[in-house]
């Protein structure tokens, strides 16, 4: 069959570009870092202010609002008509995952900001240039007695934000590579792993925590567990597509074997994002060498891998339409 007349240019446009991939990454980091910070706070928090656990909580509560705000900015800027974004706020369509996402973000973002103020309240009070915010900080302080409730709400909202980005894509049956029930779980898992990575990275670099062999070992084992969850999940995702039959199979095959995009997946997502940290962790644990450098390398590699996964999924879905 050879084409004689007809333009296909308008079907080949990438409508959701790198900006959306970065948004998905940032939203994932935000949700992941706050989930990890809360888990650490609930399970590991000791009353010492210089432990790595304390640094991870501080890092999570700092990264979460910054990354979600940056992500939201990107999201609005990527609209064809950014100034009309207010329609998202005054209209609601419960059937649209995007609309649900707006709802989740409207709940999540303020709670994150309040939680951040609660955690850094003493630091904020120190700075005089923040004094105009005095009454607001007083109000936040008065919320201290509800801290635990706020944390539970925050956890629920973060889980919603971390998952909805997956449903946002999987809801579209027009796009075979996105229309998989496993995608939201893949996204949530990888966003939690990016949360661990970013909390360790920011925690070690900016909150000068004391770190000992014990906590390094714990973090490395944590890394190992997350990678060992993510690898099989990605496997299940693609095996599901390959067994999907018809154009789903052929599109998945093409996405895994053709061109630079396949390279992004195999080299970036699998190689740098998963196998490199896996190898480092296993080597470190086997030879009982606990260096901070290992953790920093791992965290950076994991973050890069998570970003590339979002990039790969966004582009592969739109290129291999069937």
């Amino acid at each position: 069959m050879s084409p004689m007349w007809g333009s296909t240019a308008q079907y080949e446009v990438i409508h959701w570009s790198w900006a959306i991939a970065v948004y998905l990454f940032l939203a994932g980091i935000s949700a992941g870092s706050i989930i990890v910070a809360l888990l650490v706070k609930w399970n590991r928090h000791e009353r010492s202010n210089s432990s790595i656990w304390d640094a991870m909580i501080k890092s999570g509560t700092l990264v979460a609002p910054v990354s979600i705000l940056a992500g939201l900015f990107l999201l609005v800027a990527d609209l064809g008509r950014p100034l009309s974004f207010y329609w998202l706020l005054i209209r609601f369509n419960p059937l649209s995952v995007m609309s649900l996402g707006v709802l989740f973000l409207l709940i999540y973002t303020p709670i994150v900001l309040v939680f951040t103020l609660l955690v850094f309240e003493r630091t904020i009070v120190k700075y005089t240039w923040l004094s105009p915010l005095g009454s607001f900080i007083e109000w936040v302080k008065s919320l201290h007695s509800y801290a635990k409730t706020i944390e539970y709400f925050l956890m629920a909202a973060a889980l919603c934000v971390g998952t909805y980005t997956g449903f946002l894509l999987s809801a579209l049956y027009a796009i075979p590579l996105w229309n998989s029930p496993v995608l939201p779980i893949v996204f949530l898992t990888s966003s939690i792993s990016s949360g661990i990575a970013v909390n360790i990275l920011i925690g070690l670099v900016f909150f000068k925590s004391t770190i000992n062999t014990e906590s390094i070992k714990y973090l490395l084992v944590l890394d190992l567990r997350v990678i060992m969850t993510e690898l099989p999940l990605l496997g299940i995702f693609f095996v599901g597509l390959l067994y999907g039959g018809g154009e789903v199979s052929s599109m998945a095959k093409a996405a895994l074997s053709h061109g630079g995009l396949a390279l992004v997946f195999w080299l970036g997502v699998i190689g740098i994002g998963l196998l490199l940290p896996l190898a480092t962790v296993i080597l470190a644990l086997r030879s009982h060498v606990y260096r901070v450098g290992y953790i920093l390398t791992n965290a950076t590699a994991v973050l890069l891998g998570v970003l590339l996964l979002r990039y790969y999924i966004i582009y592969a879905g739109q290129i291999y339409l069937g």
């Binding site: 069959m1 007809g6 308008q10 409508h15 064809g80 008509r81 009309s84 209209r91 649209s96 995007m98």
Partner: protein, 188 residues
């Protein structure tokens, strides 16, 4: 009573003249680089057993439109008659509907920066009881349009007589645009 519109494209009658495509452009001011409607022409078979294949590419006006359910602002909506339209002022061009459409019928109008697609010429013609521009100019009557719930309408009679194919019917979108497949085969 609500209408049950149907547009039937007869592949056997189409000659690929693109009059429909041009009429659509003129009627709806479609910018040069995009199409609301085009007929893709392909050659099939091996010489000397060649055949031509004509495929209409446009919005198929689903009864169950995925582009409406994904729209976060309600800009993409379905009218009482089941036609799918876009409120230009409420469209934020998030492009979610473009990705949701299995027929790739939607595009961004590069001049207005809003999502557009075929409307069956609703504003300019259909609301005045005129056929869509593409149907009105079709040189071979390969395009037929009407209310299938009216027993005497051409589309109702054609629907009773012919085997109709609905594009990507397995998706359950229930298109209002359907086609009568080419009866002549070619050796592949």
């Amino acid at each position: 009573m609500a209408k049950a519109y149907r547009l039937i494209f007869d592949e056997n009658l189409c000659i690929g003249c693109q009059a429909c495509n041009v009429a659509c452009r003129l009627e709806n001011d479609v910018p040069e680089e995009v199409y609301r409607l085009q007929v893709h022409v392909t050659t099939q078979g091996v010489f000397p057993h060649l055949g031509m294949h004509f495929e209409r590419r446009s919005c198929v006006m689903c009864d169950e439109p995925p582009c409406v359910s994904v729209c976060p602002t309600g800009a993409s909506f379905q009218s009482k008659d089941g036609l799918v339209h876009i409120h230009e002022s409420q469209c934020i061009t998030c492009k979610y509907c473009i990705l949701a459409c299995p027929y790739h019928a939607r595009f961004i109008n590069p001049l207005k920066n809003v999502v557009e697609k075929c409307t069956f010429c609703f504003d300019s013609r259909l609301s005045k009881a005129l056929d869509p521009a593409c149907v009105s100019v079709c040189t071979t009557e390969a395009l037929r349009f009407g209310d299938v719930s009216q027993e005497n309408s051409t589309v109702a009679m054609l629907s009773r007589k012919e085997t109709l194919l609905f594009p990507k019917a397995h998706l359950g979108t229930k298109p209002k645009v359907c086609f009568i497949p080419a009866r002549k085969g070619v050796k592949v």
